[in-house]
């Protein structure tokens, strides 16, 4: 059971981060949307259109800084990446394209969307979870 304390506490903190951004800034903590919105603004570049890049960059900077802060106090937990370079490229492309077409990822649909009981986010979450289950089953060989 103690193996599940860290995931539970980590999950609560993820929820707290999303709650802070929602209640303080009025924004949804959907990571693909925050990053993709930034990219979209870079592509648009229309002078005079109100840019909201500041909070987006700040939130992403917080994500990047988190393990650095954590590492000052406690050794970072191990991270094991088994995927090859080729697999990482294909997977990254699919995640980038897919999350933008779906308007959300694990955070935007999975956490924020389900938290506000959005049927659209439930459909997205069921779909990407099922696709994830199926992909791992195929890659690791069906039983």
């Amino acid at each position: 059971m103690s193996a599940y304390y860290a995931p539970l506490i980590g999950g609560i903190m993820i929820g707290l981060g999303a709650a802070m951004l929602l209640l303080l800034n009025g924004r949804i903590a959907g990571i693909s949307g925050i990053l993709g919105g930034l990219l979209g603004q870079a592509f648009a570049r229309q002078p005079g259109s109100g840019s909201d890049a500041g909070w987006r960059i700040a939130f992403l900077a917080g994500l990047v800084a988190a393990p650095l802060l954590y590492g000052i106090f406690i050794a970072l937990p191990a991270a094991q990446v088994d995927a090859s370079v080729g697999t990482l490229v294909v997977a990254g492309l699919m995640v980038g394209l897919g999350t933008r077409y779906a308007s959300g990822c694990t955070s935007g649909h999975g956490i924020c969307g389900l938290s506000r009981f959005s049927p659209r986010s439930l459909a997205a979450t069921v779909t990407f979870m099922a696709a994830g289950f199926a992909t791992v089953a195929v890659v690791r060989g069906l039983p």
């Binding site: 999303a18 209640l23 303080l24 650095l68 991270a79 995640v95 999350t99 938290s115 506000r116 994830g132």
Partner: protein, 138 residues
Amino acid sequence: MSTLTSLLAGLVFGLGLVISGMTNPAKVLGFLDIFGRWDPAMAFVMAGALLVGTIAFHVAGKRTRAILGAPISLPTARDIDRRLVLGSLAFGIGWGLAGYCPGPVITSLATGGGKPWIFFVAMLAGMAIFELFERRKA
């Protein structure tokens, strides 16, 4: 001020990703391996996040403005269409191939070596392709 609170929110969110184990792709793939040696740990991440998230969105639903004064902007799209389903399918396959989704890979950039960067750059390229397609359509 709103930039500072956004930074703090990102920091707390990122610490949660590190503590929960979400920044470890092997752990995430263990959760997705339901037909093999399933590791249910990541379900507890979801449970913890939804516990707090549900309360936060309930509170937000009673307000029109955030504490710092900005309007609370919630998504308005409601339709379950092809874009949503096909996009989520592609995302899920990519997630299952590498074990990374957008939050954890960004949180791994400073400390995770080269592999998160490869995934991150490819993910940016995928998002850029989306922008180009959308702009050509418009």
